[in-house]
């Protein structure tokens, strides 16, 4: 499902006009798609790898993945002069059911060299307050008592504890909130911008976004699943650690054009 706002189109048109002013004629417009791939330290991960204890995190916890879905939003291309194309969209990537792994940008973009391409992991607070019928239907909501809005990610599985017994983990990323008082307190934002770096687009392009799932458990916080496993949504300290670890999860992969 795609959310398309008028200002994104206006930004596009404005950018195109600016870009075209340096040429003899209007720039051609190109189709751009994003392909989301997943790995565990360079070993490819898809849903066929789920449900088996085949991953070991930085802490040495052996784990399986049973469910993984997350939202990205607000794709931004920044030109070499700092001008920006902002696309106010979102996409639910559901690795479990192999849905949303390829996202076709519902706008044409002009060819050129871009100093940076970025997206938001999760939703910024304004977007998180919107009503998304498809995400509601997918039961991706966060209860109002935890600030409402939506999960940024649901990453569920099992780990082997010190007795080698399988125990569940629910690594659910949301907007960090302290709900222990009479009023909700949001200690810091926990959505984040993923900067993929410079990119040159000369033709219709498929841009790979790689996610190294091991990073969620590693950098800078070594994640001990024996200590942090379930009931993490109402744990703002855990949410901030997820935010910190998420910074190095995503990177730019191959660009096919």
């Amino acid at each position: 499902m795609k959310r398309i706002l008028v200002y994104a189109l206006m930004a596009l048109l404005g950018f195109t006009a600016c870009d075209a002013s340096n040429n003899d004629g209007p720039s051609p417009s190109l189709n751009t798609s994003f392909k989301f791939t997943h790995n565990w330290d360079d070993e490819d991960v898809s849903n066929v790898d789920f449900n088996t204890f085949q991953f070991t995190n930085e802490n040495g916890d052996v784990l399986s993945i049973e469910r993984l879905r997350y939202v990205i939003s607000d794709i931004v291309f920044t030109g070499t002069s700092g001008e920006q194309l902002r696309f106010n969209i979102y996409n639910l990537i559901d690795v479990t059911n192999s849905e949303g792994l390829v996202y076709d940008l519902p706008f044409f973009i002009p060819p050129g060299n871009y100093a940076n391409m970025a997206f938001t992991f999760g939703f910024d607070n304004e977007d998180n307050a919107q009503n998304y019928l498809d995400l509601n239907a997918a039961s991706f909501n966060v209860p109002e008592s935890l600030g409402g809005g939506y999960h940024y990610m649901q990453f569920d599985g099992k780990y082997l504890d010190v007795n080698d017994e399988a125990k569940p983990f629910n690594y659910h990323a949301i907007r960090a909130v302290d709900n222990t008082g009479t009023d909700l307190v949001f200690p810091q934002d926990t959505f984040f911008t993923v900067n993929l770096g410079p990119i040159s687009i000369s033709a219709d392009a498929v841009i790979e976004v790689k996610a190294n799932l091991a990073e969620w458990f590693r950098n800078p916080n070594t994640w001990n699943l024996n200590e942090l496993n379930t009931v993490l949504m109402p744990n703002p300290e855990a949410q901030i650690k997820m935010y910190e670890n998420g910074q190095t999860v995503f990177s730019l992969g191959q660009i096919v054009q």
């Binding site: 009503n131 509601n136 909501n141 008592s145 125990k167 629910n170």
Partner: protein, 339 residues
């Protein structure tokens, strides 16, 4: 009826029917699934309703779909395991029927064995522990009936009765079975108030450190009160009924069953795919203290060593009070859904 004229020939077309989608749905979730090759029509739904309640579908003429899917039970029955026309017990509890058009992945039955409503309606007719008939005979009976050939013609513009058209009509009727007028729905729309106990029950339902029901059973923004997905919710340590696993052949799916909606629980006892729990209290006790570990238990099931989420007796009572706010009396009394 619509007659579009071309020259002197009037071409009959059944009258298209649009679902009257409740605001509580249109405000929150995406549109229902209506197959393009089986759009709703007035005549199709009428035919489907008649077929649903007609024992002509059973081998000995004693049972209809409604025998196990009774309107007053929110289209379920009150048996642990449904009993077929030969008096034989099945292996599954009859699922209630409502809001089926919002099952987006279109996997029906407890085990997900039917990949559309139309296909779902095929199997019970020939199942020896259900209607125990065969489609050749059913089609023949319908074709020779004084009313049905004309009803099929009106519904599908077809002179021939087929099993495909029969199930299409039943599916059309089933898609009209909408339940969206519970006390909680009216609360959401600002038309009713919940008691303090019911509100606390909602809080327990939504708290990850309490009931944590919402991850599978929806929330006020998902008024289906099901994710329509398949989970092993920890009923058994040793899995004998493979559920989804028997359908997909994937052992990782063993013991997984479709999440039932929490609407209309007041009418749909007993509970679970095998009807093992006679009361809602037993269900809540199970999630609180009765979970059984197994290799495919869903990781959303917590505190398995302690048997579950460990609710206090007060919390259990409040949770039950909230769940009963999802009762829709107008649904079971809807004249359009009665025989």
């Amino acid at each position: 009826m619509v007659f579009s004229c071309s020259g002197e020939d009037a071409v009959y077309e059944p009258v298209p029917l649009s679902l009257d989608i409740p605001a509580i749905f249109s405000n929150t979730i995406i549109a229902p699934v209506i197959p393009s090759d089986n759009p709703l029509t007035v005549q199709g739904v009428d035919l489907g309703k008649r077929l649903f309640f007609d024992p002509i579908l059973s081998g000995d003429g004693t049972q209809s779909c409604a025998s196990c899917h009774a309107p007053e039970k929110a289209f379920a029955d009150n048996l642990s395991l449904s009993i077929g026309s030969d008096g034989l017990s099945g292996t599954r509890n009859a699922m209630p029927l409502f809001n089926l058009a919002w099952n987006y992945n279109e996997r029906f039955n407890w085990d997900g064995s039917a990949l559309s409503l139309e296909r779902q309606a095929l199997e019970p007719v020939e199942n020896p522990i259900e209607l125990h008939s065969n489609w050749t005979e059913v089609v023949q009976r319908l074709q020779n009936h004084p009313d049905y050939p004309e009803l099929f013609r009106l519904a599908f513009n077809s002179d021939a009765v087929t099993k495909e058209l029969t199930t299409m009509a039943i599916a059309q009727f089933e898609r009209t079975l909408i339940s969206a007028n519970s006390k909680f729905d009216r609360f959401t729309l600002g038309e009713a108030n919940l008691t303090a106990q019911e509100l606390n029950g909602l809080d327990i339902f939504l708290r990850e450190d309490k009931g944590d029901c919402f991850h599978c059973h929806g929330n006020p923004y998902n008024p289906l009160w099901t994710d329509n997905e398949f989970h092993n919710n920890g009923l058994d340590a040793t899995i004998t009924d493979l559920g989804l696993g028997a359908i997909t052949g994937d052992p990782n799916d063993n013991g997984k069953f479709r999440t039932p909606s929490l609407r209309n629980l007041a009418f749909t006892a007993p509970y679970m795919h095998d009807g093992r729990f006679a009361t809602l209290d037993e269900v809540i006790d199970f999630y609180s203290e009765g979970l059984q570990n197994s290799p495919t238990i869903d990781p959303l099931m917590k505190n398995i060593d302690q048997g579950g989420v460990q609710l206090s007796e007060s919390d259990k009572a409040d949770l039950k009070a909230f769940l009963l706010t999802l009762t829709d009396n107008s649904f079971i009394n809807n004249f359009n859904f009665q025989n």
